[in-house]
Symmetry: D2
Subunit: 136 residues, 4 copies
């Protein structure tokens, strides 16, 4: 298992008239956190794309527990519980600055070859850096 | 069961560099479609709020099957399969103009009293207009 | 001069905690309105792009006069006051359902050749359909 | 004059099918930068609101010079050139990691009393911390 904490400050424009972060804004937080998680192990998502590998999201499941408010400093905890194959599953927990759990999510992405638009195996570089975290 | 079809045209700003609608934009489509579905049976979500009833999303589950593209004219099919209680579950299917299924989703919202911020029963007016669709 | 009115319903997610449409959401409304204006004269922006002509925004000037609220049914009036050349300038006025003027804007876009990423002349088809509106 | 540099990493969802940051996403960057600028001098925008002072944007003028790309690490330079009164004008320049100027903007906000929704003078605390930067 590999886990990474990333901090995000809530923007005003991400709130709605209920006074809380709009439920539809969290996918952007999840995206930012997994990009930084990959960067933390030396993988640039941008470079993956430049090598013609795309990672579209195929499934997203979010449970909203408590709201986030404007200017909250959120901790987005993103973790990999299984070594990725054709798919990679990111688990999320978001906490506010009082360490209150706000929501949990699970996003599944697939590795896709840009040219063929068909699923492909994960890049070897990514498999290599992740391997130590999933050894028995 | 009550089902309603609502059309949405994809905006340029809703696409991402992959050339398709960003996965995080669909919650806005789901929101717009359920508002119009409620309006179609004479319920204004705005008026619910003005009577101090809020409907936060507590769970969202999306399966992305195929991408939507800029300027696509989407049909968002939103349906209620069970009569709502404290919760209301909206089921979604989005089709493009070629009738291809792009994604499916299920969103759960709860009725909340604005003052107490506690769950409450659904408004009687909403229960009444929906009743005929769920009678045996 | 050519002028076109397009209706847009405000989404919940487009409001912010002030209870009004976030100022940063209007560019999406302007975009949707000019696309529909072009469609009204037989020009598809999507087809322009497919013929390798892009139209990036180079300048945007907005004056916010009054707020828009959730569920407002806005009229976005978009007009061309001058025949386009390498640039095309769209003028906007947004009104709510009470005919109150909410904001005014001016957006400048340039025609760009996708391959060279250099400015280019406007497509002849567009020049032709617009010509009658600017003849003395 | 007071000037502040704030770094923002471009999110995937902020790009559009042109492969660049959508022009309508910059207002969020400007907002984040001015919040951090105020924080840098000890002013919390959140606290201003809690003391019933709102700061709606009344004018926005952006000149787009060059595009930003996914994963760019932008520097948003925000500066105050005049001491604020009823209005406060923020000037912006955004640079990418190669120090290339991407766009310039000017946003005017007004101080508004939340209860009356009328313009009001700027908070004394803000006037006091800014005063040294504008003394002759």
């Amino acid at each position: 298992m590999y886990s990474y904490d990333h901090k995000i400050r809530v923007r005003y424009g991400e709130t709605d008239k209920m006074g809380v972060v709009y439920h539809g804004c969290y996918p952007l937080y999840y995206e930012e956190a997994r990009t930084e998680m990959l960067r933390s192990i030396g993988i640039s998502y941008l470079e993956l794309e430049q090598r013609s590998i795309m990672m579209p999201v195929t499934e997203m499941h979010v449970k909203y527990i408590a709201p986030a408010y404007y200017d909250d400093l959120l901790t987005v905890r993103v973790s990999l519980r299984q070594p990725p194959g054709v798919r990679i599953v990111f688990h999320y927990q978001i906490f506010n600055q009082n360490n209150q759990l706000l929501n949990e999510a699970e996003l599944t992405l697939v590795f896709v070859n840009e040219a063929t638009r068909r699923p492909c195996r994960l890049p070897q570089a990514l498999a290599d850096v992740l391997a130590p975290y999933f050894d028995k």
